[in-house]
Amino acid sequence: MAGPTDALAKNSSAPPRLELRGVTKRFPGVLANDNVSLTVKPGEVHALLGENGAGKSTLVKMIYGILAPDAGEVLWNGQPVKIPNPRAARKLGIGMVFQHFSLFEALTVLENIALGLDSKASQRELEAEIRRVLDLYGLKLDPKRIVSTLSVGERQRIEIVRALLLNPRLLIMDEPTSVLTPQEVEQLFETLRKLAAGGCSILYISHKLHEIIALCDVATILRGGKFVAECDPKKETSKSMAELMIGANLKEIARPAGRAFGEEKFAARGLSLPKHGDFGVALRDISFSVRAGEILGVAGVAGNGQNEFMESLSGETLATTPDAIVMAGAPIGRLGPTERRALGLCAVPEERNGHAAVGDFTLAENGELTARRRMGFMQGGLINASRASAYADKVIKTFAVKALGPRSTAGSLSGGNLQKFIMGREILQEPTALVVSQPTWGVDAGAAGAIRQAIVDLAARGCAVVVVSQDLDELLEFCDSLVVINLGSLSRVRKVGEVSIEEIGLLMGGVHGDPEATVAMTEHLHAHPI
C-alpha cells in the first residue's frame, strides 16, 4: 500500500512508473494505436484524453494485459516488460477500474471482492484488510451490504477497493465519473488525490475536460490512434483541449435567443407503475408537462427508475390508465410503441446495441425498426426496401454518420456513429414529442455536440423534448427546464439558470446510498423546496 516511503513521488530522477514507446496495435481493418508513446511518472495523475475510437481503450487494455501490442515497448519502472494477461499486470502493481462493473447483485460487497481476488484470504482477514483500505482513503462503504442495494457510486467504490487491495503502483480509471453525482465525483477525486500523494500513479481516462483540469497533472491526447499532444491541463482551457482532441474548431451550441414555448405537447399526469422484478424500480406519481419547443432534462443517478420511466413513455410498458400520458391532448397511456409513434412520439432508449438498434442488421433494416410507418416505407403491406435504404442514406448524410452506406451493419459502426444514426433516425421523423435517454453516452465530444445541436434544432421546430441523462453538465448545457428522478419519483420542475448544481446534486441524492434516508430527504425537499 502507498506508504510514506513512497515520498519520492514526482521525483524527476526516478525512472518513470510506466513508459510506452512506439506502441502499435492493429485490428482487422483498423490501426487502433499507431506508434503511441506515453510516460507516467510516480505519483502522477495522468489523463488519457481522446474521442471515442481514438484508441484509449486499446492502449489501456495493452497496459493491463488484455491485449498484446503488435510492436513497441512497455517499460515498468524503467525495465522492459511483457504483460501477457491481467493477472501479470496485477502482479506488477497495475490495477484497473472499468467503466462497466462486474459485480454480482445478489452478493455482499465482501463476497464480491473475495471472488475477484487472485489469492485466497479468509473472510475475516479480508474484511479487516478492506476496512483498513477504506479508512486509509476515507472511503465510505459497508462490506456487509448486498450490492443490489448500493448506488452506482458505492459500486464503483467496490471496484476501487478491489484494485487498492493489491497495492497498485498504477491505477487505471476508465471513465469513472460518468455515473456519479457531483458530490460523489468530489469524493472520488479526493480519494484519487490521496492515492497519488502516496506515490501511486493514476491513468485517468475521460472526455470530461473540466474534470481533467481539476484533477490531472499531465494529459496525453490521442486522435485516430495517434499521439497528438502532451499538455499541462492547468495551462489549457476545456476548449483548447477539446480542439486538440477532435482536431478541429469546436462549435458552441447555437440556440435562438428569447425563445418562447408553445402549448403543451407532451405530459404525464400521476403516472405510477409497480416495480417489475427484484431489481426494478416502481414509478410513483410522475407528473410533468413539456411545451412545444421546450427541452425538459431529467437528471438522476442511474438505477433510480430511468429505464422504467423511459419504457413507460415510449410505450414498451403500458400505463395503467390512458390519461396517465397525454400527447397533444390525446390520452396515449394504453397505446403500444407503434401507435404512439404514429401519433408523433419517438423515443431513443439508453442502450444502443440490442435495444435502439440491432447489431447484425443493416442500417436500412435498423431504419425500418421505427420509421417504417411514419416515413412511408409500407407499400401494399410490404416494406419497400429501396425507400428504407434511401431513408437510411438520408440519415447517414444529414448526420454525418461514418458508415459505408445503408447496407453496413449497425454493429460495424463505432458507438458514437451508431448513436448519431439512431438519433438521426428519430429526429428526421419530425416527431411531435421526442424522449431520449443518455443521448451522448460514451460519445466523443464532436459527435456529442452534433447530437445536442440536432436536439436543440428539433425543439426550435416545435417539438417537445424530454432528455434523460446522468450527465448533469449536458442537461444544464441545453435544457430549458430540469427535474430530478430519485427512487421512481420526480422532483418539482426547475428552470435551468435558476437552480445551482449543488441543489440538483442534493436532489439526486447526496445520501442516496441509504434508501430510507433518501426517501426522507426527497420528501423533505419536496415539502420544503430549496
Binding site: 414498451e316 403500444g336 447489431g359 442488421f361
Partner: protein, 368 residues
Amino acid sequence: MRIRFEERREPSKLMQVVTPVAAVLLTMVIGAVIFEAIGYDGPRAVKEIFFTPILASYKWPDVGRKAAPLILIALGLCMGNRAKIWNIGAEGQYLIGALAGAGVAYFTENMQGPWIIPLMLVAGIVGGALWAAIPAFLKTRYRVNEILSSLMLVYVALQLLNYLVTGPWKDPNGHNFPQSAPFTQWQSLPKMLWGTPFPPGLFIAFALSIVFWIVMSRSEFGLGVRVVGEAPKAAKYAGYDADDMVWRTLMISGGMAGLAGVLEAATQGGQLNLGFPSGYGFTAIIVSFLGRLHPLGAVVAGIVLAISYVGGQVAQTVVHVPNATAGIFQATMLFLILASDVLVRRRIRIVKPQPSAQVAARVAESAT
C-alpha cells in the same frame, strides 16, 4: 505458432454460403471414412447415398416425394428458428395434420366432389396449427419451455394415431389390419403432376418458399420475426409483442407441418396406418439449419436431405450398410453445419511468434 479465432466486424456473406456446402462435402468424407473403418465399402456407400439418387432418373420420384414434406415443414421451422422460438415437435403437428385430413376423409367417405381435397388440406393446416398452439399457450401463459412441450406432444400425437387406426377409424374391410379406410379418388392427389416425376406437394413447397421468402424479408411481420430472434428488447421497442410472435410463429410452423402431413397422406399412402410416421418433422430441423434458416436455402437443403434418404435405401441394398446409415449421415451433417457457423462470425488467424530475438530475450527476462 498458435491458431486463433478472431471476431469479424461483420458476419461473412461468403462463409454463409460456403459453410453449408463444406458441411455436406465434409459429411461425405467423414461418412466414407467411418464406413470404411467398420468394414463396408465407404466410398461406394457415399456414392450410392449422395450421387445415385441424382444420376439415376428412376430415383427422382422418390427424391421429390421425400423432399416435399421436408421443405414444407422446414419453411415453417426456418421462421420459428429465426425468432428463436424452437418448435421441436413438427413431427407431431405433421401427424395431427394427416389425422385431421383423414378425419375429413372419414366423414366424406360416401361423398363426391372436387371440394373434398381442399377441405382436407385446410383441415390439415388447421390441425397442425392447433397442435402447435398448445405449446404456444403453455409458453405465453405459464412460461413452459416450448422445446419440451412441443417434443412431448409428438408422442401424444403418435398415441392418437395408434388409437384411431386401431379403433374408431379402422377400415372395416381391412382384414383387421391397423389402418384407415383407403381414400377415395375425391380424397386423393396424383403421385405425379403435369408429366413430371414429382408430386403436387413439391410444387406447393416451391411456391410457398417464394411466399415465405417475401414474407420473411419484406413484410412487417417478417421484420418482427427477425428482430425478436436477434434482440428481444429491440423488438419491443419496434412495437412487436413477444408473446404475439410466439403464437404466430408456432402456429405457422404447425400449420406448415400439418399441410405436409395431409399432403403426404392424400398423395402417397391413400390411407393412414401405423407406418405413417416417418421422422420428416425431425429431419426438417436439420433442413432448416442446413438451409441457413432461409426459405430458398430450405428448398436446396430439403432436396439434399431427400437425396440422403433415398440414397440411404439404395446403399442398404447395394452396399448392405445398416438401416441407420442415412440417419448417421444426416446427424453428421447437422453437427458440421452448426459447428461451421463459427467461421461465419470469426476468422481463423495463425499467430506467428515475433521473430525478433530481442523480444524473445525480453520475454525470458520478464518470466524470471
